[in-house]
């Protein structure tokens, strides 16, 4: 149980990981509640992807505890669809052969691709492929969903649509979500809580209100604060990351 009484999806304590002499994670602590959307924000090389790979069971750790599902669902930066399987078989990967198709069809319908069950992956756009990857992650009803910069390769408009879709899916399925990004605007648009990761530790935590998620104006102070946490001068009216997103979409 977390401090506010909700069920925990993940508790990480004192997590350590090093590559040779360099410590990438230096005793990192972290909690994610069921249905909570936590965003890890940090520069490249701060340890956030290392953390996510350790949580996914892909890399070993050198110390600390992970208390969470043994097999969380993961969406990577690339869709990683099997090119030799049609969409529904991609989504049903690892599921029971008999019930797989019905579950995959339901999951693909949820991401708006219910009419393309028999399509080959190479016919999809980048955004569509990433939607299939989302369906594949959610079809198992995971307790914990790990998202490793899943929208970084998409164009700005598609990214906004994906944000909306992910928000809906998370609200409906209520997994604990841990999203890794270096995009401040993405963090604010999605997170209940933003954790700034620096030097292998959680350096700061910022709760994000619904008002701040919905209205860009309400989040301006938070945005400047997060940018300065990343070492970007807060006086810049439009940083590199936020200039990609047209303002009127948020208005």
């Amino acid at each position: 149980m977390s401090s506010d009484g909700t069920e925990l999806a993940l508790r990480v304590s004192g997590l350590q990981r090093r590559y040779g002499p360099r410590w990438v994670l230096r005793g990192l602590d972290l909690q994610v509640g069921r249905g909570e959307f936590v965003v890890l924000l940090g520069e490249s090389g701060c340890g956030k992807t290392t953390l996510l790979r350790a949580l996914a069971g892909l890399d070993p750790v050198d110390g600390g505890h992970i208390d969470g599902p043994r097999r969380p669902a993961v969406v990577f930066q690339e869709p990683r669809l099997l090119p030799w399987d049609v969409l529904w078989r991609n989504v049903a990967l690892g599921l029971d052969e008999r019930s797989g198709r019905a579950l995959a069809e339901a999951a693909l319908t949820e991401v708006g691709l219910g009419d393309r069950l028999e399509e080959w992956p190479h016919r999809l756009s980048g955004g569509q492929a990433q939607r299939v990857a989302l369906a594949r992650a959610l079809v198992r009803e995971p307790r914990l969903l790990l998202l490793d910069e899943p929208f970084a390769a998409l164009d700005a408009l598609t990214r906004l649509r994906m944000h909306e879709l992910v928000r809906q899916l998370v609200a409906r399925h209520q997994p604990g979500v841990l999203l890794v990004t270096h995009d401040v605007d993405e963090a604010i648009a999605l997170a209940h809580r933003v954790l700034v990761v620096r030097d292998g530790l959680v350096a700061a935590a910022y709760p994000v209100s619904q008002e701040q998620r919905r209205h860009r104006g309400a989040a301006e102070a938070l945005r400047r604060q997060l940018l300065s946490e990343l070492g970007v001068d807060g006086d810049l009216p439009d940083s590199v990351s936020s200039s990609l997103i047209p303002r009127k979409v948020y208005a």
Binding site: A56, F76, E78, R80, W84, L93, H122
Partner: protein
């Protein structure tokens, strides 16, 4: 049009701008009609050569001992079919090739999968297989006859040996080229080792394996021709050797043609297999539509 001085639609314009589409209309039929014409042309040349051959044989320019007329060869084929010899010999040859291909192919695929997938299997087998591969397998022919006599087993052994290596090498290569990111995905999804091999490793290696199959088919025929001409009492090769004793050039030419046809047929089969199994692949899908 940049020729503003000439009124549109005059013959002059068509001649002056030959690369533009209106000009193409009268120079060559366009679209599907043009494709059909080119296809016809590509078949016309071999048919013409055949006709020249026939004419040369009939007019006495070619001795029947050297090269009998195509019509004579066709007639011989028909007679041999009526005697029941041609089909039974063809069946014997096809059976040998199929048996050798299945045995060698299965062995190559299994070994290749193990070596491509596991470092331990690589340490155990790869060096030995590579050493055996250095032997030109046809050089083993005298040894094979000593071991197996003129029996079926020797011929099947030789075909298996010829097929094994190309399939082994292409399987190992194909598995090494499987995208590690997809393997990672398989692990995250919690696939068992067997499911990982079946759903990700083998499908990913398939384009390379099928390229190996096509090459192996050619090797299988080569092995069979050699094996059948040396020691046998049935099969297409035997038919040829038997005919040599009696100077039946028409039968020899017929056997050569049959070998060629089988080669063409097996290659077509392999390509059909590729189109079927690699439907998902953009390159093969495009070729399939063309």
């Amino acid at each position: 049009m940049n020729q503003a001085c000439s009124p549109p639609g005059t013959p002059f314009e068509a001649v002056a701008a030959p690369s533009r589409s209106p000009a193409r209309g009268w120079r060559f039929p366009g679209g599907p009609g043009r494709d059909a014409a080119l296809r016809l042309l590509s078949w016309a040349v071999p048919v013409l050569l055949l006709l020249i051959w026939e004419a040369a044989a009939r007019l006495g320019g070619l001795s029947p001992q050297v090269l009998p007329a195509p019509s004579k060869v066709a007639l011989t084929a028909w007679k041999l079919i009526l005697q029941g010899r041609l089909l039974s010999d063809l069946g014997a040859s096809l059976l040998r090739a199929a048996a050798g291909f299945v045995i060698g192919g299965a062995l190559g695929l299994a070994l290749g999968t193990a070596v491509g997938f596991s470092r331990l299997a690589e340490a155990l087998f790869d060096r030995s297989v590579q050493m055996l591969r250095a032997i030109p397998f046809l050089a083993l022919l005298p040894l094979v006859i000593v071991w197996f006599g003129v029996d079926e087993a020797g011929k099947i052994f030789l075909v298996s040996l010829g097929v094994l290596f190309p399939i082994y090498i292409n399987t190992v290569l194909g598995i090494r080229q499987v995208d590690p990111k997809l393997l990672e995905l398989g692990r995250v999804t919690g696939l068992s080792t067997w499911a990982l091999v079946r759903r990700i490793v083998l499908p990913g290696a398939l384009p390379s394996v099928l390229a190996g199959v096509r090459y192996a088919l050619a090797v299988a025929w080569l092995a069979l021709v050699i094996a059948e001409t040396l020691a046998t009492t049935t099969g297409i090769g035997y038919l040829a050797m038997d005919a040599r004793e009696f100077l039946r050039t028409d039968v020899i030419v017929l056997t050569v043609l049959i070998y060629a046809l089988i080669g063409v047929g097996s290659d077509a089969l392999a390509r059909a297999l590729e189109r079927r199994c690699l439907r998902w692949h953009p390159n093969y899908a495009a070729r399939g539509r063309a």
